[in-house]
Amino acid sequence: MDEPQSKIRINEVRKSFGTKVVLDGLSLDIKKGESVVVIGGSGVGKSVMLKCILGLLIPESGSIAIDDQETVGISQNDRDRINDKVGMLFQGAALFDSQSVWENVSFGLMTKNHSQSEAREIAIATLARVGLSADIADKNPAELSSGMKKRVGLARAIASNPEIILFDEPTTGLDPIMGDIINDLIVRCVAETGATTVTITHDMQSAHKIADRIAMIFQGKIIWIGGTDEINDSGNEYVDQFIQGRTDGPIQMAVRS
């Protein structure tokens, strides 16, 4: 019991769309119970990386192991079993608009032999955790603001207490106070349930609060990874430019090309 074991091990993953290479040999090792924040410019492939972890996109090469089980190229049944351990908040929330808010939140529980009323209770309790009151439970997702949708998506991702939770920009579109409530929630998820989380964010304040380690993607690779306290003096000019939000620096070259 010295080195904590890997929960997610991404090794040399390549993924392209047509001729456009998005992930170009990306490797990332995430330990059990760790909270990793992934940063990087818009369109560098952060969401694509999460979708590869979930098996929604299949990498052309490389390996992704979850709990030391290889997931690239496995059967749908094995995939379903792995996905039972994973919760995902999509960047656009991806709520089912044919179903009410509480049915959305408890969707993953319905398949696990919970009764209707039990599922509803869990859904309302989970909504409370993301700062939403019970009276929106019967609303349709179309009636919610986008920040509320995001939080319902968050509630759906954490409702079944998964071992791994992937958050794609959880605080985007929320006011600063609510954003901080969500930060606390993610910190608590890790502390209380021992969940392993990967969070994508552009919000450095949020990254500092929730991350054990921060990784930066650039041109399809992780170009820097380190402890949260190290990021301000990483010695990497890409990271410096990104976290300071400067327009001059090495990243701009890639923007122009």
Binding site: K51, L54, G55, L56, Q76, D80, N83, D84, V86, G87, M88, F90, Q91, G92, A94, L95, F96, D97, S98, F107, G108, T111, R156
Partner: protein, 259 residues
């Protein structure tokens, strides 16, 4: 040379699409026989397809029956063969017009809405979200619709048969001066079980075509609202063409040896 190349490319693209749709269909049927099943969604879809299509299918059927009676009457009266009107109406409705008109109407109603709904779910990542919640999108979205389509189209066509024949009866009796009892008598004398059965088999096949085309185009739509719009159009156009193609094909099978 350029021209031949284009023809070749189009042929390959066509065959590739046929292959993809065949695989989609096979996958759907293979999931249909394995749990989990979603009876609640099957029920919802049955009501959506079967019950809510009744008005439009009923209206088309009654007018088709009425027009048939009128047209065949004007045609047959030239040969003093007015007696065959009932025969023509019942055979045309049960064998052809019932299933084909119902199929085309339902493809406009149901095929379009399935493509739009599943297409929107695809482009807003709801289909992906299903997968992450350990729910197979095929089992959850495609299979219930397929089962409902296979079950409800024959039922709809059976109702359309009755209403269509009734339309012919109304025109013949109240406008063309036929004797009501005689008309009904000759309707039932001429009608053979195979007429109705073949129509119902066609209906089931059309139901499958409508659902598969709606789901296939929705499932593979991409690129936002425009992509969903394209998927909807493609679903309706392709299922309408396939319905007419399979109608011809099935008629050949059922009545090839008919005199």
């Amino acid at each position: 040379m350029k021209f031949l190349q284009r023809i070749g490319a189009l042929t390959f693209a066509f065959l590739a699409t046929v292959g993809r749709i065949s695989r989609f269909t096979a996958t759907a049927f293979s999931h249909a026989v394995r749990p989990p099943f979603y009876p609640r969604i099957i029920g919802q879809q049955m009501i959506e397809i079967g019950f809510f299509s009744l008005p439009v299918v009923g209206l088309t059927a009654v007018f088709a029956g009425m027009v048939l009676a009128l047209q065949s009457f004007t045609g047959f009266s030239r040969f003093n063969a007015e007696g065959a009107v009932a025969n023509v109406v019942v055979i045309s409705i049960t064998r052809e017009l019932g299933p084909v008109l119902a199929g085309l109407m339902v493809s406009g109603r149901i095929g379009a809405s399935m493509a739009a709904e599943i297409g929107t779910m695809r482009v807003t990542e709801q289909v992906d979200a299903l997968t992450t919640l350990s729910t197979n999108p095929f089992k959850y979205l495609v299979v219930p619709r397929l089962i409902a389509g296979l079950a409800m189209l024959p039922l709809l066509v059976f109702v359309a048969d009755i209403i269509g024949v009734l339309g012919g009866y109304l025109v013949s009796v109240f406008s063309l001066g036929f004797n009501a009892a005689n008309y009904l008598q000759s309707t039932f004398d001429f009608m053979e079980p195979l007429d109705v059965v073949s129509g119902l088999v066609k209906a089931a096949v059309f139901g499958m075509i409508i659902v598969i085309m709606g789901c296939y185009h929705g499932y593979h739509s991409q690129g936002g609202a425009q992509g969903v719009g394209k998927a909807t159009t493609n679903a309706v156009v392709s299922s309408s063409i396939l319905i007419l193609f399979f109608d011809f094909f099935l008629t050949g099978i059922f009545f090839a040896t008919d005199g």
